[in-house]
């Protein structure tokens, strides 16, 4: 690229390739020790077995995989996790869409303020936001006291699936909003105007013009939210209160509480398989949209 700098570097006795190698060495080391090796090791661990006492048996077999995939509890766990994550993804999409459209159409300082309001939750710890939901959903919380003021009996909103779904939907919204926004580039207001001028009703304009144009952003947001939902752990643990069993919470329990590493590793590999399936579906959907 810059021919002028090259002779200077060669004069110091190092080719650009050699310089690049040295500059990339630290990150390559971190990546190898902290990412590549652990992931390969995770796959290897899923081929080990564990005794009934929990002791690790160093071997190469598919016994753990077989046990996990024939156990009715884990099968239900996997099914539930997929179902709940899909439902949360759908809710997140519906809740985020108006915000994204509104942001896309606003401008100037107002847009910046709104963008800060979208990004600030994203950068706030999931523990803080889950705690906020406890304050809203618990028996002494906002919703319960509000309903009580009207003489209504508050439903159970926490320590069950309802709480987990509400909390996770809110926590994933910023990701969905940003994904939608990044895909809204093709949405030119003139297209809508044209449709309206030609006599289409606002609803029909939305259905036939706006929605198809924003489909790629929606697909990306859904992929992102599904993957994040199925692997989220803090919110299901705190809002589920140990009564909601999902893949991510089970992985943590197997790894830290039960200390059954082969099972934890196998469940993690299953999460990765689901992730791959979601990615494949996304690519197919994207091709059909385009």
């Amino acid at each position: 690229m810059n021919t002028l700098a090259l002779p200077a570097r060669e004069a110091r006795g190092m080719s650009p390739a050699a310089v690049a190698m040295w500059l990339l060495l630290p990150i390559a080391l971190v990546n190898a020790v902290g990412f590549l090796w652990p992931v390969v090791n995770l796959l290897r661990m899923s081929l080990n077995e564990s005794e009934a006492t929990g002791a690790l048996i160093d071997t190469v077999s598919l016994a753990t995989w077989r046990n996990v995939l024939t156990d009715s509890f884990t099968l239900e766990l996997i099914g539930n996790s997929i179902g709940v994550s899909l439902f949360i993804t759908l809710l997140t999409l519906v809740a985020s869409y108006p915000i994204a459209i509104y942001l896309h159409r606003s401008s100037g300082l107002w847009r910046t303020v709104l963008l800060v309001l979208v990004i600030a939750p994203l950068l706030t710890s999931a523990v803080v936001r889950t705690y906020g939901w406890i304050a809203i959903l618990s028996n002494q919380g906002l919703v319960a006291n509000l309903l009580a003021a009207f003489g209504l009996a508050p439903p159970r909103l926490m320590f069950n699936l309802t709480g987990v779904v509400i909390g996770l939907t809110e926590i994933l919204m910023p990701y969905m909003i940003l994904a939608l926004l990044s895909g809204f580039g093709r949405l030119d207001p003139r297209y809508e105007e044209a449709a309206l001028t030609l006599g289409a009703t606002p609803l029909k304009t939305f259905w036939r013009v706006v929605l198809p144009l924003t489909a790629p952003g929606m697909a990306l947001g859904c992929l992102l939210c599904f993957v994040l939902a199925i692997s989220s752990f803090v919110t299901p643990k705190l809002l589920g209160g140990g009564r909601v069993f999902l893949l991510a919470t089970e992985i943590y329990d197997q790894a830290i509480v039960t200390l059954n590493w082969p099972v934890a590793a196998t469940l993690s590999m299953i999460v990765l398989v689901l992730f791959g399936a979601a990615l494949a579906l996304y690519t197919r959907a994207l091709r059909r949209i385009a």
Binding site: I27, G132, L272
Partner: protein, 264 residues
């Protein structure tokens, strides 16, 4: 793009959803000012006692120092490791630069629960669990991809002729880098630092796998506290954290532009 007035239906829907999005962050403010010993909304009395309680809770103050030092160390290392890597990938373009680039950002694609377990299984036999070094290494794996991404964008958008001019005038490559390239990258460095700091400071899943009984980060200490009891203490800490986050977000917006950093 305000050629067409935004319809009231959309305004109402967006407003409602914004309320939903911000509700858990807004509600911690009144709760943190509660005078009750338990969490309830609305509180039966008001006081600042829970802000005082933070500073007398040694678990929380210790965890805060760990998190702060950890985030600073991780941020410094992310810049130190990320900047040369980004320079090599963007400017020197060695063979396979694109493959390496996606390999270095790949840890972000991995669900943190899976990454956390994977790191646990490797770090446990090395005796790195519950150690500060272990936490630094684990956090680096998730902050470096951000560093690479933001710094690469910053480098790629710099005007190369300025650097070439310096080189033509006889400045050696290292001088060009430190006197010309680096000062021009100031805003990119600030947003990288802010992002790495926040990611490390807020990280909870990896930390839950890595912390031991003697060493805990603030998010982990808060998580454990909420798991056992929900009192207004965590609300008071949350308010301080939200203020810290907003401050960092505003710094990023002033130096690098929020939209440029987060919306591609």
């Amino acid at each position: 793009m305000d050629e067409r007035p935004i319809s009231p239906v959309l305004k109402a829907a967006a407003g409602l959803m914004f309320l939903f999005l911000l509700a858990p962050l807004i509600i911690v403010i009144p709760i943190s000012l509660s005078g009750d010993t338990y969490m309830a909304f609305p509180p039966s009395s008001w006081s600042l006692r829970w802000y005082g309680a933070i500073f007398s809770d040694t678990r929380m103050t210790a965890a805060f120092s760990v998190s702060l030092i950890l985030a600073l160390v991780v941020t410094a290392l992310s810049l130190l490791i990320g900047l040369p890597a980004a320079y090599a990938l963007v400017r020197l373009r060695p063979l396979g630069a694109e493959v390496l680039g996606s390999l270095f950002t790949a840890p972000l694609l991995l669900p943190t629960i899976v990454l956390g377990l994977a790191i646990l299984l490797v770090f446990a036999p090395l005796g790195l669990l519950g150690t500060f070094q272990g936490l630094v290494a684990a956090h680096l794996i998730v902050t470096l991809p951000y560093a690479i991404r933001v710094l690469s964008t910053a480098l790629a958008t710099l005007p190369i002729p300025v650097e070439e001019a310096a080189a033509t005038l006889g400045a050696p490559p290292l001088t060009v880098f430190f006197r010309v390239t680096l000062p021009m990258m100031r805003s990119g460095m600030v947003s990288t630092a802010a992002l790495c700091f926040l990611v490390s400071f807020d990280e909870v899943v990896l930390s839950l796998f890595m912390t031991g009984p003697r060493l805990s980060t603030l998010p982990v200490a808060m998580y454990r506290h909420v798991e056992q009891q929900a009192d207004p203490l965590v609300a008071a800490i949350s308010v301080l954290l939200v203020v810290l986050t907003l401050a960092v977000v505003i710094v990023v917006d002033r130096t690098a532009g929020l939209a440029k950093t987060f919306v591609r």
